[in-house]
């Protein structure tokens, strides 16, 4: 069974781990860059501007007010409802993912403030089995929206997902319905839902909760698509445009509202929250 056996190990904390190395080499420009500098720069290469991969912890850190993080996820972990066994048993995959990421599941759910404005924010961890949506992620997203209703604040979801969690079979598929059901409730409460699509937002996550934002913001460099390139190429011998499934493609085709650079994402969210939060003057 998974390594997180009780609540005390379960809570996510944003403590910075000591870096084992001081420098890293940018894959894009080849430059050796100072690691702390990179981290402070939203994981963007200070030399060439390349975006390095952000973990969910790093992502949430880059968006929220320091010290405002509070894990509000439910204390749940994945089951193995199908007894799924491919090359590895599913519980083993889960344990490896937990060990690799230090997270109990593929999503962090927190209450946090952004520029002093409260919000409930969910961030997917792509390194946790491809950020795939199983029962736990579905439940946390729903719980997050309900928490936003209780706190009467905005809900923000930062997607980074390969789609549904295959190993949970039909239960994973039905999380598309589950998250949509609770999303409808959030709408009835007239609370804003801001969907942030990052690299990659695909499959069942795209075809449900991520596409249902009142406002949909894509991070520059995001990959946004329903079907994988491989599947498309196998099914249909079609020439795909150069910008296929990029942020620019999504904007051009009306799928999203805005493309925002990583370094501007926090101020973008600030603007939106401010607009929705402030009381009308009259």
């Amino acid at each position: 069974m998974p390594i997180f056996k009780d609540k005390q190990y379960f809570r996510v904390k944003l403590d910075k781990e000591a870096d084992e190395s001081l420098w890293l080499q940018c894959k894009s420009c080849g430059e050796l860059v100072f690691k702390r500098r990179v981290r402070e720069n939203n994981n963007i290469c200070p030399n060439c501007g390349e975006y390095f991969f952000l973990t969910a912890k790093e992502r949430i850190e880059s968006l929220i007010d320091e010290g405002s993080f509070e894990d509000v996820s439910r204390p749940i972990i994945a089951d193995d409802p199908l007894g799924f066994q491919d090359e590895k048993a599913y519980p083993q995959r889960l344990e490896e993912a937990q060990q690799k990421t230090g997270l109990p599941s593929a999503i962090i759910l927190a209450s946090a403030s952004i520029s002093q404005m409260p919000s409930v924010i969910g961030v997917m961890e792509f390194q946790f089995i491809g950020g795939s949506m199983g029962s736990v992620m579905g439940e946390q997203i729903c719980h997050g929206m309900e928490e936003a209703i209780r706190r009467h604040c905005a809900f923000i979801l930062v997607s980074s997902s390969g789609g549904a969690r295959i190993q949970e079979g039909i239960f994973a598929l039905l999380q598309m319905v589950k998250t949509t059901a609770v999303r409808a409730r959030l709408a009835r409460e007239r609370l804003p839902f801001i969907s942030v699509m990052t690299y990659p937002t695909t499959g069942g996550v795209l075809a449900s909760i991520a596409s249902l934002g009142d406002i949909i913001i894509a991070e520059k460099g995001a990959m946004i698509g329903f079907a994988g390139r491989r599947v498309i190429k196998e099914t249909i011998a079609e020439e795909l445009p150069k910008n296929f499934q990029t942020d620019a493609f999504a904007l051009e085709h009306g799928i999203i509202d805005r493309v925002v650079k990583r370094e501007d994402l926090r101020s973008e969210l600030t603007s939106v929250l401010k607009f929705f939060q402030e009381e009308k003057k009259r």
Binding site: K5, D6, K7, F10, R74, P75, I76, I77, D79, L82, F84, D86, E87, G134, S135, V136, C142, A164, I166, Q167, E168, G169, I170, F171, A172, L173, L174, Q175, M176, V177, K178, T180, A181, V182, R183, R185, G203, G204, L206, A207, S208, I209, A210, S211, L212, I224, G225, F226, A227, V231, I232, I236, E238, L240, P241, F244, Q245, H253, G254, I255
Partner: protein, 316 residues
């Protein structure tokens, strides 16, 4: 599947004997009767405990009845409504009005093609955004006139291609799910063949979900799962078994509400019988739903989908 081939051969042979029996006045009745018993026995052995992969093959059998076959048998006055009012009329997803034994209903149905030409037109049953938008339009129309919705699901999945992505297939499916959840009329979904992933669930988020005995309902195709998880397309049987995508398994897991029985060998062996069983199932569930108030239906629907999923709660 050589066993199935044997069955087909035997069946053909019996048919030939029957013709002979008629035409030439020979009395072959005893032989025929014996062979029929043999055939029935072999069928039971072969199909009674079908492995998941065999179900997948039956669900995809090109002789299998498709949506329009059931519509013809169950909803004879089907009045088709075309078009999404946006840009197209998807022939892989049909919508319309119909009567079910005197009850007015709206139909949303995925339709595969029988031959290459029809499959070209129907994209092998893979709907594009215009199909899901047509479905969404139908849901709201049905709600206006308080017609319950019956959706017949039979798709390998939404169409994976450039046009789908250009027209926001993700958003179209999400909007379709949302509408299924929000419309204030009773809804019943039936998986009559393939219930492929998001393309199926888009019109499947219903108050009742039924499945034909040899239908499949899965987050991904066995081929897709094999390629991703086993890194080998040969491992489809293991993938199929692991996914627990058959009707009996899904019933066991509490995900669907009823399995509609098929004749041995599959629905195509006797479409009249299958359609009749489906019709009874639909009437039964529709009548049950009709006895509830719409508030009760909406509350139950919310609860059903709010609670779907399996996870463990950690101890304090």
């Amino acid at each position: 599947m050589s066993d199935e081939k044997t069955l087909d051969l035997l069946e053909a042979k019996i048919q030939e004997l029957r013709e002979l029996n008629k035409v030439d006045g020979l009395d072959l009745s005893a032989e025929i009767s014996k062979l029929e018993k043999k055939l029935a026995q072999m069928r039971t052995e072969l199909y009674a405990n079908l492995a998941d992969w065999e179900r997948v093959r039956i669900a995809r059998n090109t002789k299998r009845p498709y949506a329009l076959d059931y519509i013809g048998a169950i909803f004879p006055g089907f009045y088709e409504l075309h078009g999404d009012r946006m840009c197209g009329d998807d022939r892989a997803l049909l919508t319309g009005f119909a009567e079910l034994d005197g009850r007015k209903v709206a139909i949303i149905a995925q339709q595969k093609g029988r031959d290459p030409a029809e499959n070209k037109e129907r994209y092998f049953g893979m709907a594009r955004p215009q199909g899901y938008r047509k479905a969404t339009r139908m849901m709201h129309l049905a709600e206006r006139f308080r017609f319950p919705i019956i959706s017949l699901i039979d798709t390998p999945g939404a169409y994976p291609g450039l046009e789908s992505e250009e027209k926001n297939i993700g958003g179209a499916i999400a909007a379709s799910i949302l509408s299924m959840l929000e419309i204030e009329v009773p809804t019943i979904a039936v998986i009559i063949g393939e219930g492929g992933s998001g393309g199926a669930v888009a019109i499947g988020a219903a108050d009742r979900v039924l499945m034909l005995e040899n239908g499949i309902f899965s987050v991904i195709s066995p081929e897709g799962a094999a390629a991703i998880l086993w890194k080998s397309k040969e491992r489809v049987k293991e993938a199929a078994a692991s996914l627990k995508l058959t009707a009996p398994e899904l019933l066991d897991m509490g995900v669907i509400d009823e399995v509609i029985p098929e004749p041995l060998g599959g629905a195509h062996k006797d479409i009249v019988q299958t359609a009749s069983a489906l019709k009874q199932g639909l009437i039964h569930h529709l009548d049950e739903l009709s006895e509830k108030t719409i508030d009760e239906i909406m509350a139950a629907r919310y609860e059903r989908y709010r609670d779907v999923g399996r996870y463990s709660t950690l101890s304090d």
